[in-house]
Amino acid sequence: MPVIKDAVCSLCGSLCDDITVTVEDNKITKIENACILGHSKFVGMFEHDRIETPMIRKDGELVPVSYEEAIEAAAKILVNSRRTLSYGWCSTSCEAISGAIKLAEETGSVIDSTANVCHGPSALAAQEKGSPSASLGVIKNRADVIVFWGCNPVHAHPRHMSRYSSFSKGFFTEKGRKARTMVVIDVRKTDTAKLADKYVEIEQGSDLLLITALRSIVNGHEDVIPETVAGVPKAELLELAETLKNAKFVCIFFGMGVTQSRSKYKNGDAVSSLISDLNQHTKAVMIGMRGHYNVTGFGQVATWETGFPMAIDFAKGYPYYNPGETGANDLLVREEPDAAIIAAADAGAHFPQKAVRHLARIPVIQIDPYANPTTELADVVIPSAIVGIEAEGTAYRMDAISLRMKKLIDSKFKTDEEIVKDLTTKVRELKRGA
């Protein structure tokens, strides 16, 4: 009975790499160290709705076909398209992402990742002010003040606090949670907020006002602060600023409450400036709480291969980047794409109605292990092996540390990497034919 140690959990951006997996008859029967999300991924997969076979939509119904037929149908869609959107590529390996970028380049497509609806604004923020960050172990070993801003790790990253942050123990933080101050800033009292030493509830959408106020105080201009900012009394703000300034090491973890609310990337931009200002007094860093286990990897691979982390338009033959213009939702809402590949992500579930309606109108190629809302809209469905369980490959943790995901069991399905390669070969063949 093989027991595999130090497996990497391919669910969220925490990318825990201490999972012990027991495999019996090519089935995972036991999993240790994983959280509820990881457990669902590893053990639950045997109950989930796998896409059992490649399919093509005929007369409104998806009918089973061979991999070859599905790849050919997909390739035809791509060759006939003037503006393809290739979206997702975050619950997969860097090797598959690299292949997807090559395919996008060859077909003059636009390729974007799930960062479009998640931490894309954090990239834009970094492009304004930089990204003063650290690896998660630095937080574990040093941070005495930990701020969770607009994020809810109890739900979204369940082992984060025990492995990397609030509850972890490290070299200079032997006392763990007792010696750390945990601050939560949010618009509602989340389950994470309930664990905080200090919970600051702000008016929804007013993050930038609060960050600006903190900066003004940290920079010695508390005189410009009105009596309340973002619904928070000035006294509380002064106290929060003191907590940050007097820390030995501050980390601000931020989530979609920061990236998605009113001022979008200008929030992250301002947090970055706040971190810089705080470093005049103490040591401070920020880390985005990335969702998909390899959305960080998409950003890394895309950046070294194209110069840009997401929203890359190859129409001109070279990469062009401009979220707001070349992002997946920008394109769909403007009804630009005449074809789409949705892979290793679920636009059907996670895009606003208007974007989903456009997907419903155009040919959609789906590459995914599981049936999901996108399947309902897809015209060609290509099932794939689950990366991190049935296929190996590289993934990047939220702090940009890369890890090798293991193959734990065998699969009858092709890997994303193979599918992209086959698709590229077929596209070349059709183009040569034309």
Partner: protein, 127 residues
């Protein structure tokens, strides 16, 4: 009775645990609801499990009512997923990101039942 609310969406553990089981009822249960605090539910004369119709500038959707005392007055939360997305903003604000938080909404009790995932998507395909 209708109330005006500020709608946000976001992750939950249950939604996350069903990310790869979106055809299952568990996913429906994890995502097709709207959280308000009990004062707001009371103003709507709604109890947990009742159907609520959430209407925004961008559409309407029927979901179940759920109480969450962590929500301040007038703040509504629907877990990220197709139900939330039926009413969230497609405007990407020049930076690519749709409006997933801070959408003005009207909420009322309804007799209609929430659509399951496939029926919801089918509507888009047919329209």
């Amino acid at each position: 009775m209708k109330i005006k609310a500020n709608l946000i969406s976001g992750r939950t553990a249950d939604q996350g645990a069903h990310l790869e089981a979106k055809t299952h009822k568990g996913y429906f249960d994890a995502c097709a609801y709207c959280e308000l605090n009990s004062a707001d539910l009371e103003r709507l004369s709604a109890s947990e499990g009742d159907s609520l119709k959430v209407t925004t500038e961008f559409g309407e959707v029927v979901v179940f009512a759920k109480a969450n005392e962590g929500n301040p007055d007038g703040l509504a939360f629907i877990p990220m997923g197709p139900w939330a997305n039926a009413v969230l903003s497609p405007d990407t604000h020049g930076c690519g990101m749709p409006g997933f938080k801070g959408i003005p909404a009207e909420i009322e009790v309804t007799d209609e039942k929430p659509l399951d995932m496939k029926s919801l998507m089918k509507k888009y395909l047919e329209d």
